[in-house]
Symmetry: C2
Subunit: 99 residues, 2 copies
DNA sequence: TGATGCCTACGACAATGCGTCGTAGGATCA
DNA sequence: TGATCCTACGACGCATTGTCGTAGGCATCA
């Protein structure tokens, strides 16, 4: 908790961090467990998982095919890291092997 | 505009739609142009493009490899539409052909 | 054992965003 | 020219967010 404060902005009041974490916890965005009287917090989902979940919700809601979304995704992936496409293809293949 | 109202919820007041569109426009989320005294609105970006942009920002900001994001993405894609993986692979291949 | 310090629970307050609408007045069209 | 449609703007209630303070519990240490 002290450490969260240090990482965020040490100029903020301690209770500010406490309040924010508390609210995030009540919304299920972070998990916490007791450790000697004090709570220890950790993220409930990674940023990546949250974003991917967003993608999935969109796919499920689309009446049409998921293709436009996939295409848009590939566009961006390719643009920001050209090698990532190969990586993606490799991951797909690997996934097929094991399932 | 009348049509937006109809598609959204015809029970809402006309001015509700007007206000919402106006606010979206001032935030750049929709574009508009005059057509005989009335504004005609259209989305500035598709939902897909917006989400994909989010993906891109995340990839660019990641100090490490983009792999966790790709993995999370595949997990979700696979879970919500099992055939989409094949589709995705085909799209990657097609992309390689043309570039 | 009492003081010190860290932690939590809870409340507060201002700023902002959002959904909803009404009114006033300009533009359009039969 | 009058009825109809549209825009601009303000308003209101509610929820969220960033920020903090106070009160009180629990442990540690001189």
């Amino acid at each position: 908790m002290r450490s969260v404060l240090a990482e965020a902005d040490p100029a903020l009041a301690y209770t500010t961090i406490a309040t924010v974490l508390d609210r995030l916890h009540s919304k299920g965005r972070v998990l916490r467990e007791k450790s000697g009287g004090a709570w220890v917090y950790r993220a409930a989902r990674t940023r990546e998982a949250a974003l991917a979940g967003e993608v999935a919700r969109m796919m499920r809601r689309a009446e049409t095919s998921p293709e436009p979304l996939l295409v848009a995704f590939l566009d961006e992936v390719e643009a920001s890291d050209p090698t990532a496409l190969d990586q993606l293809e490799a991951l797909i293949r690997a996934r097929r092997q094991t399932s």
